[in-house]
């Protein structure tokens, strides 16, 4: 049932944004940002449960929790990066969008260096 609400909100907001685009393009951009935020906030409850399940499973398998947290961080960074770059592209600023994507990629690599280092340590111990 919730997916109907989400799709309904998205369609109505798209129509309103198209209405405003010819008059005030800036408000249309802000409207699309707000819609994305509302939908994301709505879905974050479900996401919470999924993440809790993932953490529980990984603790049962005796997986090192710090690695799972790094993976979760990477997922969230990629989501936010995608969100921001899509908004920039919608507004016509595709150069800013590509810089946002580049920043996201750099930060993801920066965060995943501990995993690579520990993997190399394990390999060198053999």
């Amino acid at each position: 049932m919730d997916i109907y609400k989400i799709v309904g909100i998205a369609v109505i907001a798209t129509i309103l944004a198209t209405l405003l685009k010819s008059q005030k393009k800036e408000i249309a951009i802000i409207l699309s940002i707000a819609t994305g935020l509302v939908i994301l906030l709505y879905v974050s409850l479900y996401l919470n449960n999924v993440i809790d399940t993932v953490l529980e499973i990984s603790s049962r398998v005796n997986l090192d929790l710090s690695f799972v947290k790094i993976i979760l961080k990477i997922i969230s960074i990629s989501y936010i990066c995608e969100f921001g770059s899509q908004i920039c592209k919608d507004a016509g600023e595709s150069s800013i969008a590509s810089k946002v994507e580049l920043a996201g990629k750099v930060i993801i690599i920066y965060i995943s260096t501990p995993i690579i280092t520990s993997l190399l340590n394990i390999l060198s111990d053999f």
Partner: protein, 64 residues
């Protein structure tokens, strides 16, 4: 609160567009510009609150 935000922003946008057109046609271009800017700032403030709420939620979900 959440869905109302979208409608509020759309309503403010329509009102600003109408005011802009009226003020421009009556010859007061500076006031038209300033009204547009003021409305933009109001809407931006509303959205920035929601953005900070979103980032807080994401932080708490992913346990930073």
């Amino acid at each position: 609160m959440e869905v109302d935000l979208i409608f509020k922003i759309a309503a403010i946008g329509i009102v600003i567009a109408v005011l802009h057109i009226i003020l421009e046609n009556s010859g007061r271009k500076e006031q038209a510009m300033m009204t547009t800017l003021a409305g933009l700032i109001v809407v931006l403030l509303m959205v920035v609150q929601q953005i900070s709420l979103l980032f807080e939620t994401i932080k708490s979900i992913f346990n930073f």
